[in-house]
């Protein structure tokens, strides 16, 4: 029996305890579906100086339970509950979070409604960035999805939004398309409110993504995120002024029989009233091969935290291999080379190499 079957059986047995086995199990698998994933990582900076981890550390990266409840054929409740970094909250270690929890009601193929906490639908990675079995590399691209690690003050978009979304898919001239339009509270950059409970102003954040598949193996898309954040005075009062955050991206991927590639370009601005606006950009391009169980890959990432300055940029060149050990079970190993300009706010001009490896499993 494979590992994922054992884990599924244990979970079903636990949930079904006290019920008669046959009908209860059938009811459970028809109406409630339990999936999940886990990953363990190792990182080591190879040089003495750098911004990586010179100690070489294991990271109990995450354990997630994904639960889908299907009360009717049109209604779905979906949630992803995560325990990150060996969460032990009694000792203030790790993180426990709801990655998403939403209700989805199906009205038509071109129109479904969601309500709840959702990933922000932006680009290629955000909706799968925690589900490590779903992508080849150890981490998602920092240059587009974690730019705070490469010198930007905030990310191009928040990970999550609490609100409503409309989404759907269809065909146009024999080609597939799909869209998501999400309206949410947005991020609270001041940390004064829980943005999944209360907005810090009346302006709602809007995220949208449109994807088109001119042919089966090719996907092209555009993403947008816009929000306004309240600016506080030194005493913490609302100044009435708003910081505009606007980001858009163009992205695409192509997957052939033996080779695949993807690319994403993100442009963003932070526009504070009465102050100079900050324009920034991020880019990533990845190429991979398909050799049976093996997926060798290489990726180039570049981030410019301030387009008006020339001495603050950062890049990552990484290469590695992803090996499918079993159904849903992957070994990844890669070398990441970081290069940065002297005035990059995070990397400070330090150039270094990191070895990253992980085991990830999804079921």
């Amino acid at each position: 029996m494979s590992a994922h079957r054992v884990l599924r059986a244990v979970l079903l047995a636990g949930l079904g305890a006290g019920l008669s086995a046959g009908p209860a199990a059938a009811q459970l698998t028809d109406k409630i579906k339990i999936n999940g994933y886990a990953s363990v990582e190792f990182e080591k900076q190879l040089e003495d100086e750098g911004k990586g981890d010179p100690n070489g550390s294991f990271d109990a990266d995450g354990v997630d339970l994904v639960i889908n409840v299907l009360p009717t054929e049109r209604l779905r409740f979906a949630t992803d509950l995560t325990w990150e970094h060996g969460a032990a909250t009694e000792e203030g270690r790790g993180n426990v979070a709801v990655e998403y929890a939403f209700l989805e009601y199906f009205l038509a193929d071109a129109f479904k409604l969601r309500a709840g906490k959702m990933f922000v639908p932006f680009g290629l990675y955000n909706e799968i960035h925690t589900a490590k079995p779903l992508f080849l590399s150890v981490k998602e691209p920092f240059s587009t999805d974690k730019v705070d690690k490469l010198g930007s003050p905030v990310r191009f978009f928040p990970r999550w939004g609490a609100g409503l979304a409309a989404l759907g898919s269809g065909r146009l001239g024999g080609s597939d398309w799909d869209y998501v339009l999400q309206v949410s509270n947005g991020e609270n950059l001041n940390g004064t409110e829980n943005p999944f409970e209360k907005d810090d102003n009346t302006q709602k954040a809007v995220a949208a993504r449109l994807r088109f598949q001119p042919e089966k193996r090719l996907s092209l898309g555009l993403s947008l995120y816009r929000d306004e954040t309240t600016l506080l005075d030194p005493e913490g009062g609302d100044t009435g002024q708003r910081l505009l955050q606007l980001s858009w991206a163009a992205h695409g991927s192509w997957e052939g029989e033996h080779v695949g590639l993807e690319a994403m370009y993100v442009w963003g601005k932070l526009d504070p009233p009465g102050a100079e606006r900050l324009e920034r950009a991020g880019f990533e391009a990845m190429l991979w091969g398909k050799l049976g169980r093996w997926r060798p890959y290489a990726r180039y990432e570049h981030h410019d935290p301030d387009k008006d300055r020339a001495d603050d940029q950062a890049s990552i060149l990484l290469g590695g291999v992803n090996v499918r050990l079993d159904d849903g079970f992957y070994l990844k190993a890669e070398l990441d080379r970081y290069d940065s300009d002297p005035r990059n706010g995070k990397l400070k001009g330090l150039d270094f190499t990191e070895l990253k490896a992980s085991l990830s499993f999804g079921f």
């Binding site: 698998t29 028809d30 579906k33 999936n35 999940g36 994933y37 997630d64 994904v66 889908n68 299907l70 054929e73 049109r74 779905r76 979906a78 992803d80 998403y100 939403f102 199906f106 038509a108 193929d109 959702m118 990933f119 909706e127 799968i128 589900a131 079995p133 779903l134 898919s169 597939d176 050799l291 049976g292 169980r293 093996w294 090996v323 499918r324 050990l325 159904d327 849903g328 999804g362 079921f363």
Partner: protein
Amino acid sequence: MRSGLLFFLSLVGLGSTGAGPGEPQGYRVVVHASNPVAQLSADEVARLFLKKVRTWPDGRMAAPVDQSMTSPVRASFAREVLQLTAGAQKDYWLKQTLSGREVPPRALEGDTAVLDFVAAQQGAIAYVSDDTPLPPSVRVLKVVAP
């Protein structure tokens, strides 16, 4: 020791991404007898089973039913209609499920269970072995090339 060696050889030998569930098996795509749709293209059938489309042309909800992942009839159907290996199907549904997009169709064990379900569900679509007798409430859906 031997199993470890075989595992290593399977890795370096660039083995297939999914185990083949058996010999090719003929199949027929079936629907409820009251379903007004007489035929679909293979691509349209694939879109229903991959849940890229969840409704019939008249707007009724479709209820696709798979057989178990180890079933030879599923392997034949997946290869010819979905154009996916068993491993690729698992990868597809893992991505759909873990990203919150969609959950896979229900999977039933064997032709009898599948035919019972299709007979009871007007929106159902399924596949069974081509030599399995069909009850009066189930009929064959003609699948044509796209």
